[in-house]
Symmetry: C2
Subunit: 297 residues, 2 copies
């Protein structure tokens, strides 16, 4: 498969997930109007949809049910979107731009942005507990994995550590612990949810897939730090160089730019090696890993 | 059963739920320290635990599994607690006192309060998707009912309508729609979750129980409005008379105090009548309904 082929697949999947998100979000014009309008604003029309792509690519390994993958992809993306809305609030990062448009609290107001985040999180669990057409045991495992990845031992916990780390000298292991929770946990959950939509894997295969997930979750954050250090506001679509301005510890501030780039490449190699066991079925996952590490936006 | 007997039962259940909440919340002293400390501060050591009591009383109707009811009770209370933490934030009601102590954003800070609410909501779904020892279908139904009650068509939607209603002239049906979502939905969910922990009820019995739940959910809010109008800060433990000060429409502002009290009593009578079909098994639910309407705190 060529790069062109991957780009075509990713574009098709991005269009598809946009369609599914549009269908699954509260309809425009339904009460409460402003809340539902703002929920759609927060989710639709932007983003690379990396987590949904991971759900589909992971599901491809085990012949997963397309309808169940759609719901899993939506649920993971809603959790991601809610975290961005809350993260942008004045009491957190106080960001005014996101994906090239005003953040939710700027476009609407703070109270609405708070409720948008709350409601998007709930919607993720509402959809994932609806009719999926797969076994109840797998469905409960999906719900549990998503909740564990999102909560105080996962994403929310990572945000709390991030908050406490501003201006602090973190060690590399501490930085890694923060990112495993803040970004890594949800990326890992996306891959777990994709897998749970399909045929059960052997313990060995599951372990390999989960190792891939952990490597790629960490690589994602390392690349983010590299991009933040390198990028201009124009290409990133959000206020760039903010980490340094906010005195936040990053892989770049701790290791330097060159070493951070090298770490991303090592994590990518480790991730790709653990896909060998799956042969051709892991081609999308492998291409996605390369895309995540080499992305420039 | 006497009033003394009910008070004894309620006190025992309140002590029990406090113990279960203490066990199920993230342990004190585990990372991230400040977040976990604040999550425990937000939930423990206060509150009437009306929603957990409703779970247990509803479960008593259908011989529900005690262990499953514990988790359901915790999940519903965590959703309630998260909504209070976010509702108290400066961009919402800007309350500084709750249950006789400083609100979370006052005791900690706004960013922590935001993450506390986020994490408590996630924890509710994490616990409810764990091992409950009941059938997977009933468990998924519990998750779905709790999510529907909490989201943009339920509690969060009610908050959004509440927000938009400040200074607005609402009609009585509009006020009712707001409260059905804001308070009623979660109370109704508590009763549904208790039922789902036990033997399946007939359609007729389920409908009667759900009618009870709807009446009592609305009565709860009417009584809240009456108490807000009557109470002093000292007895309520929060800043009282705030509704009027904030120019929020209430049952009292729309109907007058006397009519609002009468409405609460009518709803109580309607609720109690629909319990007749259950005989003695509904005694706790019936006593709880009377407690909710006659409470003075």
């Amino acid at each position: 498969m060529t790069q062109t082929d991957f780009t075509h697949w990713a574009n098709q999947q991005q269009l598809h997930i946009e369609q599914v998100l549009t269908q699954r979000l509260p309809k425009a014009g339904t009460a409460p109007l402003r809340l539902h309008d703002a929920m759609r604003y927060a989710v639709l029309g932007g983003g690379k949809r990396v987590r949904p792509l991971l759900v589909y690519a992971s599901g491809a390994i085990c012949n997963a049910q397309p309808a169940a993958m759609d719901v899993a992809a939506v649920a993971v993306e809603l959790i991601h979107a809610y975290s961005l809305v809350h993260d942008d609030l004045p009491c957190m990062d106080n960001d005014v731009m996101r994906r090239g448009k005003p953040t939710v609290h700027v476009e609407y107001d703070e109270a609405t942005a708070l409720l948008v985040g709350d409601g998007l999180q709930t919607l993720a669990f509402e959809l994932l507990s609806g009719e999926l057409g797969i076994g109840g045991k797998a469905q409960l495992a999906m719900l549990h994995a998503l909740a564990q990845a999102s909560g105080s031992h996962g994403m929310v916990g990572g945000q709390a550590i991030d908050l406490a780390s501003v201006g602090q000298a973190l060690s590399l292991p501490e930085l890694e612990q923060m990112h495993i929770r803040k970004t890594g946990a949800l990326i890992r959950a996306a891959i777990t949810l994709g897998r749970l939509c399909g045929n059960t894997l052997s313990d060995e295969h599951s372990a390999k897939l989960d190792h891939f997930a952990k490597c790629i979750g960490l690589a994602f954050q390392v690349v983010d730090d590299v991009l933040d250090a390198e990028a201009s506001s124009a290409t990133l679509g959000k206020t760039a160089g903010k980490d340094a301005a906010n005195d936040k510890p990053t892989y770049v501030s701790l290791m330097g730019l060159k070493q951070a780039r090298q770490l991303a490449q090592e994590l990518e190699a480790d991730a790709l090696a653990s896909l060998a066991i799956f042969g051709d079925k892991a081609q999308r996952l492998s291409q996605l890993a390369q895309f995540i590490v080499s992305r420039s936006f």
